[in-house]
Each structure stands twice: as C-alpha cells, then as structure tokens.
C-alpha cells in the first residue's frame, strides 16, 4: 500500500481492486462539508475497469456530490481519488463522459451541433464531432432530428441527444448521474442496452440511481450510500449474500414433532412455512420433515433481492426514502 496526501486515506499502489483487476476509479476517505453540513462522510470506492458500477441511494444521500468529487468539479475536503490512474481528474477529462443529473443543452443549437459541442469540450475537433453527431443520431433512430434545434425536441429526445454528446468522444469512463430519470419505459430499456454495450466494449460505466431495479439488472458492483456514508461497496452478489436466502415450505400437515426442527425465525402463513436458510443448509431440515411425514407439497429457496440487501445494509429509513423518491420503474 502507498500513502497519498491526506489523513488515513490510502489508495492501492497497483491500482487494482483485488490485486489483479485494474481500477478505473479509486477513492478513499472522501469527505465534503458545506458550512457545517457533511454531505459526504468518508466514502471509499473501487470501480474496476470495464465494469458497470452503480451508486445506489435515496435523494440527498450524497450521490451527486460524490460523483462531482470524482470528476473534479468540486474538490474533497479530505480524502483522495484516483481516476483512470490520475489524482487530478481534470488531467483525463478528455477520456471521461459525464451526464449530469440536471440535463442541459443550448436551446438554439441543432441536435448534431450540440453533440459536436459536447465533444469539442472533451477535445474532439468540431468537424469530426459534427460528422459523428450525425452518425450517432442516425444510429439511434433520431436521424429526423439532426437539423432540429434542441428547443424543438421533446424532453426525452433532448436527453438522448445529450447522452450521445456524452459518448461522442469515445470515453474510457462514462459517469451518469441519475440517467434514467425523465425517460419513459421504452427509453429506459434502450439506455440499459446502451450501458451494457458500452461495458461490453471495455468502457467503464458508473451511474447513480435511486431505482434499485436498474442497479440490480445492470451492475456488476454497487455502492450503497445513505447519509453521506457507504455502508457497502462491492459486487451485487455479495450484497445479496448479506441476507440469507428465504425458504418457502408448503406442507400437508400443520403440526407434528417435525416442527421442532424448523428454525427459530419461522413464520407460519396458511400452509406455508417461511424461514431463513439455515447455515447448515436445507438437507437436515428436509430429512426431519420427510421422516415426520409432514407431507411436502412445495419447496422454494429464494435468494435475497438487492432491495432486501439495501434494507438490511442501509436501514429501513433509507429504504423508505428510496421507494418514495423512485419514479415509475421499468416493468
């Protein structure tokens, strides 16, 4: 380990999460205060290259502030960050694409010019940006809007134009702040496909969301953030494994000596017995139920979802806030 700058913050010198996989983003102990209010309080993140990484949390949890620190829009009060191997994100700005939460384009610009301008900000020559802008619009079914001014487009279309502008310079790292908000179900699906396509091409995608379904469907890894802290960061499977799988057992008999073998947290609903999968596995329990002639009608073992993991990790209050803030999800 190699020490950088402030406090106890450390960043792996080999730039890998587990010593083998390169990291696109490493952050240790990021803290941001606004006049007494701590928006972000010691955030650690390790985003592997080529992965889809979600930052999951309710509004006001510190997602946007964290992303802004990672991008160098604001500097942390404490902690260190390393983006694509650079401690100053501005040094690699030309290899990053960023879609902020508050979308914005110049209303008088034509769609393809808006894309070219966003590319020019990242070092792409305007002529090349215009060419790619037109091609991207055609490729994504927006060819008819090439010469339309942004003010003539619907909100969803303008949002798509901005997303294309985020990608026009072919970035290595794409940062999307609440990318699904404001999109209808069809366009949310398209965006999910686009994100998967980017990752398949080697681009690292990090996005914030308060919609668990998107994170669950897309992400290799997530950081759960609540109250400016990150109680969990890692693979989605590991988050789920924080909660034992749930067993749902249906029996013909309602009672018998076999009942004593059921775990202590068992709940009885009609003919169903619901309990957490014991550490010893399901086999000993099943053996006892069969030998007790309970008459098994059905048995299912359900792995915990990311929502359950979020509740277990971030707490009920954060989960409630997440649900209250969530827009209509894709079915």
């Amino acid at each position: 380990m190699m020490r950088f700058g402030l406090g106890e913050a450390r960043v792996a010198s080999n730039g890998t999460a587990d010593g083998t996989r390169p990291l696109a983003i490493e952050a240790r102990g990021l803290v941001k205060r606004f006049d007494g209010f701590t928006a972000v309080d010691g955030v650690d993140l390790s985003v592997p290259e080529g992965s889809i990484y979600g930052i999951l949390g309710p509004n006001g949890a510190g997602k946007t502030t964290t992303l802004r620190m990672l991008l160098g829009i604001i500097d942390p009060d404490l902690g260190v960050r390393r983006v694509l191997g650079h401690e100053r994100p501005g040094d690699v700005a030309h290899t990053i694409g960023y879609l902020p939460e508050e979308r914005g384009l110049y209303p008088a610009m034509k769609a393809y010019e808006a894309i070219a301008f966003l590319g020019a900000l990242r070092g792409l020559p305007m002529a090349e940006g215009r060419r790619r802008g037109k091609a991207l619009l055609e490729e994504h079914g927006l060819g008819y809007a090439i010469d339309r001014q942004i003010r003539q487009l619907s909100k969803g279309m303008a949002q798509q134009v901005q997303l294309l502008g985020t990608l026009v310079h072919q970035p290595r790292l794409v940062v999307l702040d609440e990318p699904f908000s404001g999109l209808d179900a069809i366009n949310q699906g398209k965006l999910e496909q686009m994100i998967r396509g980017l990752a398949a091409g080697g681009t690292t995608v990090i996005f914030s969301t308060h919609v668990i379904a998107h994170a669950e469907r897309l992400c290799d890894e997530v950081a759960i953030i609540a109250g400016g802290r990150v109680p969990f960061a890692g693979p989605v499977d590991v988050a789920r494994d924080r909660i034992p799988a749930q067993v749902r057992l249906e029996t013909r008999q309602a009672d018998g000596p076999w009942r004593a073998t059921l775990p202590a947290d068992t709940r009885h609903e009609g003919r169903y017995w619901l309990f957490s999968l014991p550490d010893t596995g399901i086999e000993p329990l099943l053996r006892a139920v069969i030998e007790g002639e309970a008459g098994i009608l059905s048995l299912s073992i359900e792995r915990a979802g990311l929502h359950d993991a979020f509740v277990a990790i971030a707490g009920e209050a954060a989960a409630r806030a997440l649900i209250e803030n969530a827009p209509e999800e894709v079915a």
Binding site: F34, D35, T65, R68, I73, I74, G104, F117, L121, R122
Partner: protein, 418 residues
C-alpha cells in the same frame, strides 16, 4: 463504441476558444446583439444623466486665466486694480496671473508664452502686455473679443485715470491658445469617456444575459466537468469582446456612410493630444480593460444568483456603480494633475476612463503603458477571483435549503447547496 481516445486534454486557452466560439456565434445571432447595435442611441439618455457633471466640467474649463507680461510696477498696479474691481463686480472680472515681471527695458513675447503649454499649466486664454495706459491683449480672436472690455476696465483703474478714461486695448490675435485647445480636447475626452461607458455598460449587460442563459439551461456543470473554470471565464469574456468589436465595426461603417452623406454639416471633434490613430488604439485597449474588469465582476456576481429575478436585482446596484465610476472619471477629468485624477487613474474601475481622457488632453505616451500594465494586473486578479467564486458557488447539488432561501444570497453564499 470503442474506448480508444486519440486526443489529449484541452489546454485552458484551447478550451476558452471552444467556449468563446460558441458564445460568439450564439450572441451574434441573438436579440441582445441587436440591442447592442442600437446602443449609439443611448448617448442621448446618458448625456441627460451626465448633464450636471458635464456643465461643471465645462465651467471649470471655461474659466481660463489672463496672463500678465508687463513691467513689475505695472503688474502690481494691474493686480491691485483687478482685486478692487472683483470686490465691486464679483466673478465677472477675469482672473489675472503673473506670467512674467519684466525688468526695465526688457520685452517679452506673448505669442510664445501662449503657445507654451508649460506656462500656467496651459490654462491661459490671453496675455496682457504693454502698459496700463496702452495695454496689448494677445490671444485667439474669440477670447480677446470676449475679454477686452474687462481688460480695459482693469487697465483704466491701474493707470489711475478713473473709470471715465478708458484706455484703448490693442488686440493681437493668435491662431489658437492652449486654453482653447484644452477646451476642445476636453470635449473630445468627454465624448470618448461617454462612448467607453456606453460600450462597457452594454457589454456587461450582455455577459449577464449570457450567464443567465447558461444557468437556466444547466449546461454550466457540463462545462465545469470538462474544462477548467478559468477557461469558461476567459471564453465568455473574450467572446463578448469579439462581439463588441464586430459591433464597433458595424458602427464604424454606418458612421462612415453618415459622414459621407452628412459631410461638413456634421460636428467634428478636435484631434486628441496623442493624435487620432494612437487615441483610437488606446480607446480599444482601455475599452477592453474596462470591460474585462467589469465583465469579470458581473460573471462572478451572476454566479451567486439562482434565478433571473436575482440576476436583475443584482444588476441594478452594479449599474449604479458603473454610473458612479463614470461620473467620478468625468469629475477627475476636470482636475488634471490633482490627487483626484491620480485616484481615478489608480482605481481599476475608473482607470480606463481617466486614462482615455488623459490621452485626449496630454501627449505623453509612457503613462498609458504603465496604466495598461496596471489595469491588466487587475483584470487578471478579477478573473482569478471571479472564477474561484464561480466554481465555489455554482457547483453544488440539490435544492437550496429553506434557510438559504430565506436569508437570500448572502446566506446562500455561506450555506451552499449540498
């Protein structure tokens, strides 16, 4: 899409160019630019506003003194007579200053003394030579015509003959006097200051409009993520400068056409002391400095506001400040060589105005180089400071807190959104 970038990060200047190019094109095709082109109509309004200051300047300049170049005994007699008459008649009696007390047998050349700007600070309208009994008044035709009656009265009293025996004043006309020249140049300076004020006011307003647009369409965060904030500032500032140069070009063409049509019927300004070519060059330089300082302030202050209404509220005091700066510079123009003028030159806001006036009145060039260096220093400071404030204030997330909303801008400064 492959992830193989071929380019490097944009330098600050390259990024500023990207911003400037966008702003330049967008502004040139906007309604703001039409208002800018209509700007020359505003002098009517401004000259009304500046009327009192202008008249004060006029009065100060219109009270040139009459020099004395006579035998010592005659000088004393003339001064005593003037003082006595001033007691009786008040301010209508012209003020006399001693240019030279001649020794017996010595003679002086009033024409040479009038042409020498170093004599009495160049504020001489005429010179009395000869004797009280046979005075000779030398000066421009209009000045000696206007003053010869009062001079005759003073000479009559000085010669001891009483008011009934008034000596004949011999008139010796020169082509011009330093006072008349100064007066004309002051008018040129006033016109230049007014134009400078007008341009900076219009331009700073356009910068604010541009910032409102930027804040309204939320693109500012994209800019902040991609390029240094200094580049955003430089780009916006210099885009407006370029827009103004286009506007000035349009005015110049329109003015040329009007001049060709109007010909000699149009009033003309006296050539400034440094000559027209250098004066115009300095005008562009001082306009740039005045605009850059003010534009940096407008951008910084504009970044504090969240809404168009707040921008408008902020606009008012800043516009008032511009007026104060203009009036201060006009006031200082009438007090060349005083501490007031020095203060106007040193204060970064009024410095371009004061120095442009100086270029119209004084021919020395080196003070302009020093002043431009001084102003450039302040431009750099204001851009740096403005960019830092802008970056600190604008790049926060989420809705404003209730307390921040309640306590307004100052509270918002202390409680950024988080």
């Amino acid at each position: 899409m492959s992830a193989q970038p071929q380019r490097g990060r944009l330098s600050t200047l390259a990024a500023a160019y990207v911003i400037a190019r966008r702003d330049f094109v967008a502004t040139l095709w906007s309604r703001s630019f039409i208002f800018f082109l209509l700007g020359p109509l505003f002098p009517v309004f401004v000259s009304t506003m500046a009327g009192s200051i202008g008249s004060q300047v006029e009065q100060t300049i219109d009270a040139p003194q009459i020099g004395l170049m006579m035998q010592a005994r005659d000088v004393d007699a003339m001064l005593s007579a003037q003082a006595a008459l001033a007691r009786d008649l008040g301010d209508d009696v012209p003020e006399l200053v001693v240019i030279r007390r001649l020794k017996p047998g010595e003679s002086g050349d009033p024409h040479t003394a009038l042409a020498d700007r170093r004599v009495n600070g160049g504020n001489l309208s005429a010179i009395i030579s000869g004797t009280p009994a046979a005075p000779v008044l030398t000066g421009t035709r209009e000045r000696i015509t206007a003053s010869h009656g009062a001079v005759a009265l003073i000479a009559a009293r000085a010669s001891g003959h009483g008011p009934n025996v008034v000596p004949k004043v011999a008139l010796s006309a020169t082509a011009t006097s330093t006072a008349a020249q100064n007066h004309s140049r002051i008018i040129t300076a006033q016109a230049a200051q007014t134009l400078l004020f007008l341009l900076t006011m219009l331009l700073a307003g356009m910068v604010l409009s541009n910032l409102v647009e930027e804040k309204g369409n939320k693109i500012i965060e994209i800019l902040a993520a991609a390029i240094p904030m200094d580049a955003v500032f430089l780009g916006k500032l210099f885009a407006m400068l370029a827009v103004s140069l286009v506007g000035i070009g349009v005015w110049a063409v329109a003015g040329g056409v009007i001049h060709m049509v109007g010909g000699s019927a149009l009033p003309s300004l006296t050539a400034p002391a440094v000559g027209w070519p250098l004066f115009l060059l300095l005008g562009v330089a001082y306009f740039s400095m005045a605009y850059l300082v003010l534009g940096a302030i407008f951008l910084a202050i504009g970044s504090l506001a969240s809404t168009v209404r707040e921008i408008q509220t902020l606009n008012m005091p800043v516009t008032m400040m511009q007026l104060v700066v203009f009036f201060f510079a006009s006031y200082a123009m009438a007090r060349q060589g005083t501490m007031v003028e020095a203060a106007a030159i040193l204060v970064p806001f009024s410095s371009p105005f004061a120095m442009l006036a100086r270029a119209a009145i004084h021919p020395e060039i080196w003070p302009h180089l020093a002043a431009l260096g001084w102003q450039a220093l302040w431009v750099a400071i204001f851009i740096r400071g403005g960019a830092a404030l802008f970056r600190k204030r604008v790049m926060q997330s989420g809705p404003a807190t209730r307390s921040a909303k309640r306590r307004g801008l100052i509270a918002a400064l202390r409680h950024p959104r988080g």
